[in-house]
Symmetry: C2
């Protein structure tokens, strides 16, 4: 049985973000993260499979499921894109308390090309899950994939704005602002 | 000096696609690819850094540069999205002769979640390069990134249609069709 450590998860995340920012992602070991958090490396591995998992683990998974569920739960008469936006807004609530950590995480990812590719790669699963949910709602496959991709652009844009230094707007509202901006860019 | 082998590059690519399709990407070694092509493993490494490079190497790089150059070369009065589409259509000509190989490549990528993520991750560089080119044309950073992301959706959609079994339409035309479809999905 692992020893219970108060908020070990939060302390490890905070320690990892501190060290990644200070000495780079590649230059940080799991042993250093554990030491910075005042915990054992064993405790680290009770919570994360590796240091990659600190940045791309559980929150991503919960977010993906919340989006997909939100697409399913959208009103029957919603257009496919509106159903995706419904899902993104529902999922925004999952993230809302995590803005400070998300902003720190983004700075690390933007500074590291390898992590940028991983972050972008994650969207493959979001596109696939949303496309399946849209097909369950009756969309044709081509329309479902294109709408899912457009929805991911909305999400990526809203997320970039939300994690910007000094931002105070909730992610839920920024999703709608990003949709409007996409409409402006794509034009008639 | 490496011995000159007639069309070693093409033979290695063909051998790799054959083996990836037959026995999976993970289950194929560079030695097997070289043997299937009737070449030495040393010749393989004269052309590719590793087996990943067969799928994600030189064509991707040439495509990226052609898109960026095409954005720069778009008419001065083109909107940002039209400039991106100009770049995508110019870059389509780089790929046009490679449709059969691209179709085989896509089947392998779609069958392998790890490769799907890599493929999606590649778009990080395309987004960044196109966003820089748009800012050189005078777009504000937010608009540049959003437009670049919308352009990547157009490109991914056109590419999916182009590599579909039985497709006979040129990629250049499918870029325009994908833009129209995106406009339909995003709506007014």
């Amino acid at each position: 049985m692992p020893r219970w450590e108060p908020d070990a998860l939060g302390r490890l995340q905070d320690a990892a973000l501190t060290l990644f920012a200070r000495q780079g992602y590649a230059g940080t070991t799991t042993a250093e993260i554990a030491a910075q958090a005042g915990l054992s490396e064993r405790t680290f591995f009770n919570h994360f499979a590796n240091k990659h998992d600190v940045l791309f683990g559980r929150t991503s998974e919960a977010f993906l499921q919340a989006v997909t569920q939100g697409v399913h739960d959208a009103p029957d008469d919603a257009t496919p894109l509106d159903a995706v936006v419904h899902g993104l807004r529902a999922a925004a609530d999952v993230l809302e308390g995590h803005q400070p950590a998300a902003a720190r995480r983004r700075q690390i990812i933007e500074a590291t090309p390898e992590l940028r590719e991983r972050e972008e790669g994650k969207s493959a699963r979001l596109v696939d899950s949303v496309a399946v949910a849209l097909q369950d709602r009756g969309a044709a496959p081509d329309q479902a994939f294109l709408t899912a991709r457009a929805g991911v652009v909305v999400q990526q844009t809203a997320d970039a704005w939300w994690t910007r230094p000094g931002n105070a707007e909730p992610l839920r509202d920024l999703v709608v602002a990003a949709l409007d901006a996409l409409r402006g860019v794509v034009g008639p």
